[in-house]
Amino acid sequence: MHPAKSVIFFTTASGAGYGMMIWLGVLAALGMLPQETVFGILVFGLAFALIVGGLLSSTFHLGRPERAWRAMSQWRTSWLSREGLAAIIGFVPLGLFALVAIFSIADMALGVVLGLVGAAMALLTLYCTAMIYASLKTIPAWHNRWTVAGYLVLGPMNGAVILAFLLAVFGFEEAAGTMRTIAGVMIIIGLTVKTFYWKHLATAPATSTAGSATGLGHLGKVEMTGSPHDQDNYLLREMGFRIARKHARKLGRIAIVLGFWMPLACLLVAGIFLDGGLPAAGIALLFVAVIACQIGITAERWLFFAEARHAVTLYYGEKAL
């Protein structure tokens, strides 16, 4: 599948934003959410900016962005429609939660409820995003449980790393420590999920073949000797994206090292520095963790598209999926 920049940015950015929101809700429930205006504006502002920026970016790849509002109507059958609705509805509890947390417009007990409802909506939105991909039978690399697990874990993982950094910057030591632990655990879960995802890709038996696509399999090996067109067409550009194998391996390593191992190492060492009275070094390492994580997750998301092969390619020379 063609890895569209707008969709890669959308899924990584809104994933991180929703991830931050989920942990802000959890911190509120644990009674650890710092109620300081500057911190609140910055942290909620960043989370909303990531979510809204991602959603806006996703409309850039539409042929008719001005009609995007129509996408909310078919929630009965369409995961894309459900995602749009979940995102819009989620803004209500998340927005109110932010107002309570930053400006104390209501009691924090209500804030906790709003935060948890908002966190649930954030998870639901991530689930809908994942299901857009996981529901497509035509793309076996996506049509499996590891796709859903990946989206549900990687966004919150990324959000936790960002929050751990911001909490440390503002010197909220207790919350920062908790967030480092959460981020570390999420990284280990994330790495496990992606390892299983890639293992599944390498070992899953073929679903459709050139033989079943043409119905000529009983005659033997099926090869295309004549293409309908001698230039690329929409199908080949959108669905026939081919990735050089050496790049796939390299990018896979970048995703694993920068997305998981490096942030994990930075978190551990940063914890030692912060506890040992070297806050500047600790914060610097957490910043490295945040940047590494963004690069790693972007590589992971690019591969998620680039490695996925579509059934239509079976008509154009692909042997099996």
């Binding site: 599948m1 539409l62 042929g63 109507s73 059958t77 369409s78 079943s212 033997g220 239509v312």
Partner: protein, 249 residues
């Protein structure tokens, strides 16, 4: 809207005979011709006279070669278009309701006035039936010539999809595949018509008829050979013909 109808009154569709198709691409060209001026117009072309011509087509003809274990090859020309599936995944993924399947005849269509061009339907279709029009920003697809098959201004024999009426070899048939007594259903039953990628669970309406086994002794029953109709009997021949036959034999 994007919920599929539970049943459709008719299942209009095509039957493509891979034994007859000669790969001339006339169906693809006439499809383009009709639809460039019909419901989905314009059927955009990019760089049509340039070095990299490209554009929206609803019908594409591939050519495949099959090779069995003994190394025997067979060439099969293979037209590929929308199969108007009963469980059309392109319809249910549509977030706007632009994509729909008609209850009255099962034709799958796109309402281009509300399509947002998200392309998800083309991701959901295993058959590559949907093509995106980059100029218009919307998705387009085979309409089964919905504006031709019901057009009362046309003579009745012309009220079939453009790909069917133009095929010089008669490789394409059109009819109601939901009616077991229709000509197309009988053809499918007689020739073992099959679904493409049945494992995708889309339940295509269109059927393909397999190429008959070759005449070189491989496979089961052979394709009919015209020469085999010649025989040695002189029954019914005229007096002179019988006399010549006697002398020559």
């Amino acid at each position: 809207m994007t919920s599929l109808p539970k049943t459709t009154a008719k299942k209009l569709g095509l039957v493509v005979d891979l034994d007859i198709c000669v790969g001339c691409h006339a169906c693809a060209v006439n499809c383009k011709e009709w639809n460039a001026g019909a419901k989905s117009a314009p059927l955009t072309d990019y760089d049509p006279y340039g070095k990299k011509p490209d554009g929206v087509w609803f019908n594409r003809v591939h050519t495949y070669e099959t090779t069995d274990e003994a190394g025997h090859g067979q060439t099969v020309h293979f037209p590929r278009s929308c199969l108007h599936c009963e469980d059309a995944p392109c319809v249910t993924v549509c977030p706007t309701g632009a994509s729909y399947k008609r209850e009255e005849d099962g034709i799958v269509l796109v309402n281009e006035d509300i399509c947002i061009g998200c392309k998800l339907c083309s991701w959901a279709c295993p058959y590559g039936a949907r093509e995106y029009d980059e100029n218009e920003g919307v998705m387009k697809k085979c309409t089964l010539c919905v504006d031709k098959i019901y057009n009362e201004n046309l003579p009745e024999e012309s009220r079939v999809p453009a790909c069917v009426s133009t095929c010089p070899a008669g490789a394409r048939s059109f009819g109601d595949l939901g009616d077991p007594d229709s000509e197309v259903s009988k053809l499918v039953a007689a020739r073992g018509g099959y679904d493409l990628m049945p494992e995708q669970g889309t339940k295509p309406v269109n059927k393909y008829l397999p190429p008959r086994p070759r005449q070189d002794g491989r496979g089961g029953d052979k394709a009919p050979r015209m020469l085999e109709h010649a025989d040695d009997s002189t029954e019914g021949a005229g007096l002179i013909a019988r006399w010549v036959d006697k002398i020559l034999s």
